[in-house]
């Protein structure tokens, strides 16, 4: 299973903190765009397609073409604003 966590603004858009979804055909981070479809509003998928969000895989920043391990914890991260 892949666990996907949403933060801040994008959690508001997703309407949930996290979803768990089966690995299925997903090989790369980019494949999440299809995999997440049934779980979150279309508006979130549109934001993700813009690729303005950052993504982490197992607590490391990852590119959209990074491989997705079977037990990945994926973070969907709006632009950060700490400090």
């Amino acid at each position: 299973m892949i666990k996907v966590l949403f933060f801040a603004h994008l959690r508001d858009v997703a309407g949930v903190n996290q979803v768990q979804l089966p690995v299925g055909e997903m090989v790369r981070v980019r494949d999440l765009l299809d995999g997440l479809g049934p779980y979150v509003p279309d508006s979130l998928i549109e934001v993700l397609r813009d690729e303005s969000a950052m993504v982490s895989v197992n607590h490391k920043y990852a590119g959209w073409d990074a491989l997705l391990p079977d037990d990945a914890e994926v973070g969907i991260l709006p632009p950060v604003s700490g400090g």
């Binding site: 933060f7 801040a8 950052m54 982490s56 490391k60 590119g63 950060v80 604003s81 700490g82 400090g83």
Partner: protein, 174 residues
């Protein structure tokens, strides 16, 4: 004696300073940076009154990113000790948000490391701020000038070739 502390509670700068003096007895220079909630934000050019911020983070990822920022700073500007304290949760106007402290033999490394840590913390560490004020609520985004601040260090690195460039701090951005 953790290098990275993420907590809801406020921190006492005097106490933190005393701890650092004790833990870095050979330091000749200590630089402290404290970031506070300003009561007036200039988001989109409009002055507005901020009542409080709500800060969230990605537990686990944030701590390891902050530690990595400290480790990267240490490669470039050797120091005796560096510490990040960052609050999360509700933080009211004029309260402290973040403290970065660096103790070093000489002042240039202490200043540079503290600035490096703050610049990367602002643009890489997985914190998010929601501003709640007279204009309602809004999530704050990364500021362009913070991005430029980080680019300055990257130029510094490629000019000096002094530290590894490929780390998780370097994000595969499109």
């Amino acid at each position: 004696m953790n290098d990275v502390i993420i907590c809801e509670a406020n921190f006492d700068v005097g106490e933190e300073y005393a701890k650092i003096c004790e833990q870095a007895p050979s330091a000749g220079a200590i630089v402290f940076f404290v970031g506070l909630v300003r009561d007036l934000y200039d988001t989109q050019g409009c002055a507005e009154t901020v009542e409080f911020l709500e800060l969230e983070h990605y537990p686990g990822m944030t701590e390891s990113l902050c530690q990595e920022i400290i480790d990267q700073a240490a490669l470039r500007f050797p120091f005796d000790l560096a510490r990040i304290i960052h609050r999360v949760g509700i933080i009211h106007a004029s309260e402290q948000i973040v403290m970065v402290a660096v103790a070093s033999r000489h002042r240039d490394n202490a200043f540079q490391a503290a600035q490096f840590i703050m610049d990367y913390l602002k643009t890489r560490a997985t914190f998010w701020k929601k501003e709640v004020g007279t204009r309602g609520e809004q999530w704050l985004g990364k500021k362009n000038k913070d991005v430029s601040a980080v680019e300055r260090w990257q130029q510094h690195d490629s000019a000096h070739n002094s530290a590894e460039s490929k780390t998780s701090l370097t994000v595969n951005e499109k």
